[in-house]
Symmetry: none
Subunit: 194 residues, 4 copies
Amino acid sequence: MSAVNPRPRAGNRRDEAARLAVLHAADDLLVEHGFAGLTVEAIARRAGVAKQTIYRWWPSKVEILLDTLIADSEKRVPVPTAPATADVVLGYFRDFARFVVDDPAGRVLLTLVAQAQHDTSAAESFRTRYLAPRRERERDLLARAVDAGAISPRLDLDATLDALIGPVVYRALTGAGGSDDLVTALGEDLLGKP
Amino acid sequence: MSAVNPRPRAGNRRDEAARLAVLHAADDLLVEHGFAGLTVEAIARRAGVAKQTIYRWWPSKVEILLDTLIADSEKRVPVPTAPATADVVLGYFRDFARFVVDDPAGRVLLTLVAQAQHDTSAAESFRTRYLAPRRERERDLLARAVDAGAISPRLDLDATLDALIGPVVYRALTGAGGSDDLVTALGEDLLGKP
Amino acid sequence: MSAVNPRPRAGNRRDEAARLAVLHAADDLLVEHGFAGLTVEAIARRAGVAKQTIYRWWPSKVEILLDTLIADSEKRVPVPTAPATADVVLGYFRDFARFVVDDPAGRVLLTLVAQAQHDTSAAESFRTRYLAPRRERERDLLARAVDAGAISPRLDLDATLDALIGPVVYRALTGAGGSDDLVTALGEDLLGKP
Amino acid sequence: MSAVNPRPRAGNRRDEAARLAVLHAADDLLVEHGFAGLTVEAIARRAGVAKQTIYRWWPSKVEILLDTLIADSEKRVPVPTAPATADVVLGYFRDFARFVVDDPAGRVLLTLVAQAQHDTSAAESFRTRYLAPRRERERDLLARAVDAGAISPRLDLDATLDALIGPVVYRALTGAGGSDDLVTALGEDLLGKP
DNA sequence: TATTAATCGAGACGGTACGTCATGTCTTTTA
DNA sequence: TAAAAGACATGACGTACCGTCTCGATTAATA
């Protein structure tokens, strides 16, 4: 007979509840107390988890944030895989801008960009696990749009992406606000007409 | 002429030698050990200065870096005040890109952008003491160029600046390299022909 | 006759191989790394045994040491049961002194005396399982020797035992060396001539 | 004008209040929770002192206990320097026995004897700082008594001391009680009549 | 010409967090 | 049912910095 509650706690294998508790605690602490308040001890305290459990599964707190960022940005700003019309492309960059500027989860992205400046291995992880794979798919998105004749960028694909994303991120990093119009204007300018 | 002992330590007024020793120690430590190695204790040790002397004159180590950044960027990438031709304008942004990407002093700029994400008061200082005044002069530069008929930007002045500077900074932050061609292309595109 | 697989691991009854592996691992670790290196984790690692197996059979590592001490001191310094002549009695105390001072197994005795100071339940076990039973037999040894007219102690039996054993143990505990002559002199003095 | 109270708190030199707080906290914890409860963290907590302050001045908690033991045993069981009569000598050993058996401060002695078995450097410190100097003075006490014709020991001086102290310490270590009579009897026996 | 006041190097202090280790309990899987 | 394996919450370890403080010496401006 197996009870309704199948005994959630611990065992020989990784404890999923602990994993989620850590991710949520990290997210919450970042929102509530900023990066300075995001210590391993605080995460452990908040998650009701042992420090060792954190160190067992994550090499550093940056990796914790990366886990949440990857999950969240996949959910909220997926790179479109559908047929790449001009609207789809531009819509994606607008969504990305809103994610970075307005969404608390987007705050994690900025935090990791920042931490990457202070910490080489954070930079490495951030690039390998987040930036590079996403850039791959973004480049592919543009390429498909070009093939479909939906856009005709004036610069090469990577430069186009940096030119569209860079200003948005830079504004967010320097505390300047909404980038919606900026994205629209840049999009028109850089993606061209077919 | 001073005594045989060339160490005229202490006195009633601020010790300029101590001030410089702190600035240089901070700069050196940042280059050699990264931001993680830039602790007040390490600066004091390296500069041969008491911790209290640092805390007496700087509210935080971010202000020390700001002091060096302001001095260095004034020296290496001054915003042109001469007649604003298209070449002068474009040249400025190219110089800025090189400063950020290649110059160790430009590294300080990235470090402060980063630290501003982790620390509200760092963000405030960085904006007030560095970003805002410089932006003021950059906006003025563009305005003079427009007046002179040297350029005719397609976006408003602030958006133009973000669109030119953002991609460069974003590339530097994410570890991507040289932005020279990018600046040239963006300049042509965004500053237009008269 | 055993199976093709020479590792008849685990089963229904207590695994004697595991028991011995634990005892030997504990002994070895004590000799090689001292009491500080004698952790349950280290014993388990060394013995190739699961921690739980240790906790299942021994309430604490002190009991493991007690098991080895009891076995070893029974083997190397048995309390004589043969007719109790003066030589037998004195010989026993001399053997005991050598056990405590020279024999690695005697080291365990000192370790347990020490641990008993830090840990009440260790003290309890040590007294109940080791000290008391042995004292019983030592007292009996003396009594038989008195009855036989082989010795005539000047103090009561327990005081005589403490007066003979105490100095030897104290010297061993304080790092002072050989007690052979001391035992001889004390023996002559305290056990008297018939 | 120098006040009666010369500003007690902290500064550039060692803080005497902190030193005493640590010693008392260590003593109290040992009495209340045993050696197991005597952690550096607990001492710091109890003394209202930073852990670093403890590590700055004491290489280990054993040295803290040594400090208290040395002070306490100097106060309660000083080795007599007055003319060494038989009564003075015997009185000293009786006092020592009471110190070890009844006095909470004597408990520290037993704890250190114990810890010396587990920790080489504790053993070294204990011998150098406590045992050796005290033994020196005890030997001197006996020598003076012999010279004065007050006693005539049957063993050499060190053996006599071990034979008198050893049984008392051994009894205390093994939880056996009062040693008053034992000391008297041993004293009569070993110190002899002039 | 003293006195006063500020600065300096030095470093002790109460704290917080670090990353590691051992504790004893628990579960899972295999025999 | 025992055993190996190992995850888990707990809590101490010893170290590094934090920012505040007190000290004694040094020097310039004031009385």
